[in-house]
């Protein structure tokens, strides 16, 4: 290779564009660090053992915590994941592996549409579907609302990541005599696993921070809720209520709550990654 190849202008463009991408990454990361720092700075005072173990106390009284909201969010997200992830995952598998033609197009299109519905509208929908006939609010309704919100993202991201797996792997599997289902389960999904987990975690993160759909479904609770059949407290709703209140102490607790929510998602993400890190992806560049 002679020294003049690639030509100088290409080298310049190379450095320039690559630096731009670096800047872009830096920009995005610094925004996150700023948000995290802000939450810690303003909420740190409220983060103590009581925050994680005690029920909220009324305004004006010192202390108290968000224990019921933390557990409540956990319960709601568990139910939402149980509804949203299987349907989305399996639907995504259909689109990537079995589907062809107008039905697949309709499903992808519909998923994008459902994704764009404001979360409050989904909340109103589930309210009419579940809360009104039952005549009471429930964690079940909240979980269903969040679950419906999870389906489109789970479906589309699974679809995209499965399709990104090269066909050579599918052909290889079939050549060995495996059925389509076996190929998908044992070869394709593991190859796309990193991406699928990314999609699920992104999904969970987005849904964990949603307030509006819970206002009319899970409602909220100052106390512990038993099971999934009664009003349930959740972190985003409590954060919302505290943030817009007049009380300074509640504002600080709201920031602290935001930090705890992020920390919870962070930990869940790590756990999920560790669980799938054993699998190797042969398609990885």
């Amino acid at each position: 290779m002679s020294k003049s190849y690639p030509p100088m202008h290409k080298k310049v463009i190379n450095v320039f564009m690559l630096s731009l991408t670096g800047l872009a990454a830096l920009l995005v990361v610094s925004v996150l660090l700023f948000i995290l720092g802000y939450l810690v700075w303003h909420g740190a005072r409220s983060l103590n053992w009581a925050f994680f173990t005690q029920l909220p106390v009324p305004a004006g009284e010192k202390g108290g915590g968000m224990a019921n909201a933390i557990v409540g969010s956990g319960k709601l997200l568990l139910l939402a994941s149980a509804i949203g992830i299987p349907i989305g995952l399996l639907g995504g598998i259909y689109l990537a592996e079995f589907g062809k033609g107008p039905f697949s197009l309709a499903v992808r299109y519909t998923a994008d549409l459902l994704n764009g519905v404001p979360s409050i509208v989904i909340g109103i929908f589930v309210y009419t579907l579940i809360v009104l006939p039952q005549h009471h609010f429930s964690g079940f309704a909240g979980g269903v609302a969040l679950g419906i919100m999870m389906i489109p993202i789970a479906l589309r991201s699974t679809d995209e990541f499965l399709r990104a797996v090269p066909n050579t792997l599918r052909e290889g599997g079939l050549a060995l005599g495996a059925s389509k289902a076996q190929t998908v389960v044992t070869i394709i999904i593991p190859a796309a696993m990193q991406g699928i987990v990314t999609g699920i975690m992104l999904n969970l993160a987005r849904v964990a921070g949603e307030t509006a759909p819970l206002l009319f479904t899970a409602f909220g609770n100052q106390f512990w809720s038993s099971g999934w059949n009664g009003p349930t407290a959740s972190l985003p709703v409590v954060i919302f209520n505290y943030a817009i209140s007049p009380y300074e102490d509640w504002h600080r607790q709201a920031w602290a709550g935001g930090f705890v929510l992020l920390a919870g998602i962070f930990v869940t993400n790590i756990i999920a990654r560790v669980l799938v890190s054993g699998r190797h992806s042969p398609a990885r560049g």
Binding site: V57, P58, A59, G60, E61, V71, G74, K75, L78, V131, L132, H135, H136, F137, L215, F216, F219, G220, N221, Q222, F223, W224, S225, S226, G227, G230, P231, N241, A243, I244, S245, P246, Y247, E248, L275
Partner: protein, 343 residues
């Protein structure tokens, strides 16, 4: 993996307290303004009556009214009384009338940020209406100057801020402007959400307060509690007796006292522009909504006891949280009305 999930699920289910036989769970929803009060009451009441859990969530006065009508909650909280149409709807859907009981008082105050002006300004109802109608556009308008002699007001444009979200606070503000200014009444009217002629919409008290704080030459309105808790400066408003009154717990309570003579038996009354020299004109009750003949009589009895406690003992909480307590005449009238509920 599956086992871990099952264990996690079992843990979360058991982390919730099981219901004992004497447990009384009441659910309430509505006014965001009154939420801290109901929640403080619930906490104190639970200490006196262990086993009674009163869960109140703020989803807005309109939301509270709708949930009461739908029967999904046991009681509601609202900053503006139900209309006759809503009562009729409740009658047909619930099969019973809905009663209003005032539990506390609140006020709405004008906040402003004028560079060079550190004094709290005096506003008359007509001036406020003129500003919010877009007819008074500059701070040195003669109408404003007339009420504030000795204050040098700049010739800057007034930047108006109002609430974007429907709220009882807006209703009280607009209700006062309707009473003070006929043009406002015919052009805009009073409701939780209105078609504002001018101005930016801020979400919630903190949206309006934040905007006014950051924008020179702006004016807005917030709840009295919010202004006090956040140590904001706010202006005086002229009442029906012609005096410029600053909002505080005292002047708000006086507004209620002034209205008590003409209070209807169902307590659905607006006390804006109330008579009385010391009355603050932009004040309002916040009501608790109870179905008159609910299906569950034990719950109803518990609610009645809670309400009785709230309007008597509970008024101490009110002051600590910057709600104006009910005037004694109002409480007496409510207690009398409560005796007619037989459960």
């Amino acid at each position: 993996m599956i086992r871990r999930c099952l264990l996690l699920a079992a843990f979360t289910a058991s982390a919730s307290a099981p219901l004992s036989a004497q447990q009384m769970n009441l659910t309430g929803a509505g006014s965001t303004f009154a939420a801290p009060l109901y929640q403080a009451w619930a906490s104190d009441y639970a200490k006196l009556h262990p086993g009674t859990q009163i869960n109140y969530q703020s989803i807005g006065s309109g939301g509270g009214i709708r949930q009461v009508i739908s029967g999904t909650v046991d009681f509601g909280g609202t900053d503006s009384p139900m209309t006759n149409e809503q009562l009729a709807e409740a009658q047909s859907k619930l099969g019973t009338d809905v009663l209003h009981f005032p539990v506390a008082l609140g006020g709405v105050v004008p906040i402003h940020n004028i560079p060079g002006v550190s004094k709290d300004l005096n506003f008359s109802g007509n001036v406020l209406a003129g500003i919010y109608l877009g007819k008074i556009t500059k701070w040195n308008d003669p109408e404003i100057a007339k009420a504030n002699p000795g204050v040098s007001l700049p010739a800057n444009d007034i930047i108006v801020c109002h609430r974007s979200d429907g709220s009882g606070t807006t209703f009280i503000w607009a209700d006062f402007l309707s009473k003070a200014n006929p043009e406002w009444k015919s052009r805009v009217g009073a409701a939780a959400s209105i078609n504002w002629p001018v101005g930016i919409g801020g979400k919630g008290n903190e949206g309006v307060a934040g905007f006014v704080r950051q924008t020179p030459n702006s004016i807005g309105y917030v709840e009295l509690i919010y202004a006090v808790q956040n140590k904001m400066t706010y202006g005086q408003v002229q009442n029906s007796a012609g005096k410029f009154v600053k909002a505080d717990l005292n002047s708000v309570t006086m507004a209620a006292a002034g209205a008590v003579k003409s209070m209807p038996d169902d307590f659905r009354v607006s006390i804006t522009n109330a008579p009385g020299a010391g009355a603050y004109p932009i004040a309002s009750f916040t009501w608790m909504l109870l179905p008159r003949n609910p299906k569950d009589k034990t719950k109803a009895a518990a609610l009645k006891a809670f309400l009785t406690w709230g309007i008597t003992e509970g008024q101490k909480n009110a002051q600590a949280l910057t709600y104006a307590p009910l005037a004694k005449q109002v409480v007496d009238k409510e207690l009398a009305a409560l005796t007619y509920l037989h459960y």
